[in-house]
């Protein structure tokens, strides 16, 4: 049973408008890096990355109006590496209704932490095809990587402690420190 | 070698009396408040002295299935259960349908020396239901009870002939009432539970039809008929009516049919599979009432040992039957409030008469009477430990259940065969 420990000292690391600006900047960086968005597909990771992928798709559409960028979602719970250590509870159903073979897949998530979710996502993508390249866009990189995974597009680098909770929404980024018992 | 039972309540013709009992030379030599010293002392504090129990229905499996029980281990189990005599069922291999097999069984019983093994004979050769066995010959060899137990005699014409024949010989025909065409593949009582579980059921009618038939045949022929292991309310009703007409009909019921219901089969545990099957609460109530009003004369165990391997088969393949000798008293007293005299009547006096051994067994203790006795604590609560059973098998449904009433000592022909629950040989 998860202990509810009294939490205090939350701080807003990024405001709502800052998050929106970051998303806009990332949208431009994606188009710039890939010399246009013709071959780009967005895949938001359940649950935290899907709204961001939707926002990115909108922004990219504004930058390159002739393109409709494919946008899907991926639940990686069945591909985690702690299978057998913890029970798996499936999240929402994945929805990738387009072909990713030869595409540039931009995985989108809210927070990059240990890197294990992204590793699972890379493995899950294998079920769907063989992309030309996979790039990673996150709003927050909070450090403490456990795998050799690095983001291609970052909203903000925010140093955190391991017990901290980081929540990203369109109203901003809130970091809540764990109170030591 | 003399034996004294001290400090117990003795159930005599005059009621319960606080008496010490002295046994010598196979008979009760003395009963009084001080009977002097003896070679062997049995403490009877909190206990009653009853005539040794007589089981009308036990499967000793020898000859033929000695891996599940032998006459010796079955006798030991009986002795621990307070029995000084039991009727050995004839569904052995070879069947008890010839004098040599009868003599063999009797001899094995004598050799074990723990109680009197009374062999029953088959009604038909090989229990096949087609030809009568040599009943006169077997009767001359001392067989009093004839049955094809395990099955009933299906052919009414054959049963009629058996009854006509038996009347002249003064023997008793005991019937396992089951119309086999109605019970093909049956695993349990035909009831709501069997419908839920999708298994073939044994309808009450399959027993009652044969009870009815044999009562009518008994009316016609004047034969003495004993109904084995009655299990349904309908059967009790039929026997009550027959007795009201004064017919020489007797009946028995098992402890498990007084205590366990068909719902237990939902567990699919084959320990509960038995023939006739466990039935409903209403049937149990009718059987108890029948026992209390004398419609059912006796409690008989239908002790049916099976090796673990056989009982581990899927439910429809597992053989039916459960142990009974060592738990009979404990089960009966846990579901019925009986006086010691009632226990004596139902488990000793009446079965001894039915078995034709009433000169040696089933007599309320009195000076000069045979020393076939059991000393029981009517209130002691105990639980069944499979490992401490004397039986070779362990297929009892009462493991872990609290039973009430325990046999402390058993005396057979003046010898202490069970002392403080432990068999002496």
């Amino acid at each position: 049973m998860k202990q509810e420990q009294p939490r205090s000292s939350s701080r807003t690391a990024l405001s709502g408008p800052d998050v929106q600006r970051a998303i806009s900047r990332i949208a431009h960086e994606i188009v710039e890096r890939n010399h246009g968005a013709q071959n780009v597909v967005l895949i938001g990771l359940q649950r935290g990355g899907t709204w961001i992928a939707d926002a990115l798709a909108e922004r990219i559409c504004a930058i390159e109006p002739e393109l409709t960028i494919p946008n899907g979602s991926l639940d990686v719970s069945m591909h985690r590496d702690d299978i057998g250590i913890r029970p798996i509870v499936p999240g929402a159903i994945s929805d990738i209704s387009f072909d990713i073979n030869g595409a540039i897949v931009v995985l989108v998530d809210d927070v990059l932490y240990t890197g294990r979710t992204v590793r699972a996502a890379l493995e899950a993508l294998n079920n769907f095809g063989r992309p030309q390249a996979v790039q990673l866009a996150v709003i927050v990189d909070r450090g403490h990587r456990e795998l050799p995974i690095r983001p291609d597009f970052v909203g903000k680098n925010l140093p955190t402690q391991i017990g901290d909770e980081v929540v990203v929404s369109d109203s901003g980024v809130v970091i809540t420190a764990e109170v030591s018992p | 070698m003399s034996v004294a039972i001290r400090n117990a309540l003795v159930v005599t013709k005059r009621g319960e009396e606080r008496l010490d009992v002295k046994i010598a030379q196979g008979v009760i030599a003395e009963m009084g408040t001080s009977v002097g010293p003896a070679d062997s002392e049995l403490d009877g504090t909190n206990c009653h002295v009853l005539p040794g129990f007589v089981d009308l229905h036990a499967h000793l499996r020898e000859p033929g299935k000695e891996d599940s029980e032998t006459i010796e281990t079955g006798s030991r189990a009986g002795a621990r259960g307070g029995y000084t005599a039991l009727v050995a069922m004839p569904n052995t291999n070879p069947a008890q349908d010839s004098v040599p097999v009868i003599e063999f069984v009797r001899m094995q019983g004598e050799r074990a020396g723990l109680l009197e093994v009374v062999p029953s004979g088959c009604i038909t050769v090989g229990r096949a239901g087609t030809a009568l066995s040599p009943m006169a010959e077997l009767a001359r060899a001392g067989v009093q009870i004839f049955t094809d137990d395990g099955s009933g005699v299906q052919d009414p014409a054959l049963m009629r002939r058996a009854m006509e024949y038996s009347r002249e010989l003064g023997i008793t025909l005991a019937q396992h009432c089951e119309v086999s065409s109605l019970t093909v593949g049956a695993v349990m009582n035909e009831c709501s539970c069997s419908s839920d579980l999708g298994v073939p059921g044994w309808p009450a009618l399959a027993e009652e039809l044969m009870v009815h038939r044999d009562i009518e045949l008994a009316k016609l022929t004047g034969a003495r008929v004993h109904f084995l292991h009655l299990s349904t309310a309908g059967s009790v009703h039929l026997v009550r009516q027959a007795k009201a007409l004064g017919l020489p009909i007797t009946a028995e019921v098992t402890p498990h049919h007084l205590s366990l219901t068909e719902e237990l089969l939902r567990s699919f545990d084959s320990v509960y599979k038995v023939n006739p099957p466990l039935r409903s609460v209403a049937d149990i109530e009718a059987l108890k009432a029948g026992l209390l009003d004398g419609t059912i004369d006796a409690i008989a165990t239908d002790h049916a040992p099976h090796v673990r391997r056989d009982k581990e088969l899927p439910l429809d393949q597992a053989p039916p039957g459960m142990l009974g000798l060592e738990t009979a008293l404990g089960v009966v007293l846990s579901v019925l409030d009986l006086t010691p005299l009632q226990v004596a009547e139902m488990m000793s006096v009446r079965p001894a008469k039915i078995a034709g051994i009433a000169e040696r067994h089933g007599m309320l203790p009195e000076v000069g009477g045979p020393a076939n006795l059991c000393v029981v604590d009517m209130h002691q609560e105990w639980t069944v430990e499979p490992r401490s059973l004397a039986s070779k098998s362990t297929n009892t449904p009462y493991v872990g259940r609290v039973l009430r009433g325990k046999v402390r000592h058993t005396v057979f022909n003046g010898h202490v065969v069970v002392s403080d629950g432990k068999a002496m040989r």
Binding site: M78, I88, D95, N127 | E190, G198, V199, F268, Q317
Partner: protein, 316 residues
């Protein structure tokens, strides 16, 4: 949930959870490579004492798509059972490292009996005439998809055939009733269980009485042995009274759902070709078979409801 042995033991919550999981599995099955590592390191053993290539393959495919190891023992020939008791077989295979047994046996109750001899999870793939829970879950999922409703309140389900000897009927009656359906059974009296009066169903002896009003028509297979056992006069009489004839098919509602657990006895209970019947969902039943069996394996071996809260602690 440790075992899937009967719908009653599963309960309504368990049933809903499995139907949920099955939709996840259906998505996985639509992927170009339908495989996830969820049951990596687990061993699933099929022990089929009764022949059934279809169900056995369905479970094995399901296990493989979840990356489990599979072992298969088909005992209808004599390989395992010569002299070896059920207990010995189960104990031996358990010691070889089985996490889960998928068992089909002609004797009712085997999935409960074997639970004493192993710590593995047990999936009942059919025990005697008693239960076939995974089939019932497939059927509920198929109905859900067809009527586009998660629960079946107000839905009339009619099950036709040899109810007495049918494990599919027993499981389905329990499952459909749990989800709120009104169940009617249609059969001659000799093919009904003795105490059907205790079941939450309406009993009807004529299919014509209900054909036009039923929302779901579930046809059971009639085995030819029933005629040999004297339970019905003849297969053709059964067919004319209880079969889905062309004439009856025409009286079905256009929105009705026609189902059959397979394999079909054409000319006995089915007199029309299902592919000619717009209401038939028999293909969907087969398709759903693998998703449901994946959901069952997944829920028994990878998920634990009590620890659902740990889900929140999964590192990002």
């Amino acid at each position: 949930m440790k075992h899937l042995r009967s719908i009653r033991e599963l309960g309504r919550d368990g049933l809903e959870q499995l139907l949920e999981s099955a939709t996840h599995m259906a998505e996985i099955n639509r992927r170009p490579i339908p495989k996830v590592p969820a049951l990596r390191g687990k061993t699933v053993v099929s022990l089929f004492y009764e022949d059934s290539t279809r169900t056995r393959l369905s479970f094995e495919t399901a296990a493989k798509r979840l990356s489990a190891e599979t072992m298969s023992f088909s005992v209808s020939t004599s390989s395992v059972s010569k002299g070896e008791s059920l207990r010995d077989t189960i104990e031996t295979i358990s010691h070889m490292g089985a996490h889960c047994f998928v068992v089909r046996h002609k004797s009712s109750g085997v999935p409960w009996q074997i639970a004493q001899w192993t710590n593995a999870s047990i999936i009942n793939a059919g025990d005697g005439a008693h239960q076939h829970p995974s089939q019932a879950i497939v059927d509920c999922l198929t109905v859900r998809q067809a009527i586009d409703q998660p629960f079946f309140d107000g839905v009339n389900v009619t099950i036709v055939g040899d109810i007495k000897h049918s494990r599919v009927a027993r499981s389905n009656i329990e499952a459909f009733t749990m989800l709120g359906a009104r169940v009617t059974v249609v059969a001659p009296p000799t093919l009904l269980p003795s105490h059907i009066g205790h079941w939450p169903v309406t009993v009807v002896h004529s299919l014509d009485d209900v054909i036009a009003s039923t929302d779901v028509l579930y046809m059971l297979r009639l085995q030819s042995e029933r005629m040999d056992q004297g339970l019905i006069p003849s297969l053709s009489e059964y067919g004319s009274q209880f079969g889905l004839t062309m004439e009856r098919a025409q009286r079905l509602q256009s929105s009705a759902v026609v189902m059959h657990p397979g394999p079909m006895n054409r000319g006995v209970e089915m007199h029309v070709d299902p592919s000619d019947l717009s209401q038939s969902r028999i293909h969907q039943q087969v398709e759903n078979g693998i998703s449901v069996r994946m959901a069952v394996l997944f829920d028994l071996l990878a998920r634990d409801g009590e620890l659902q809260q740990l889900h929140e602690e999964v590192s990002a």
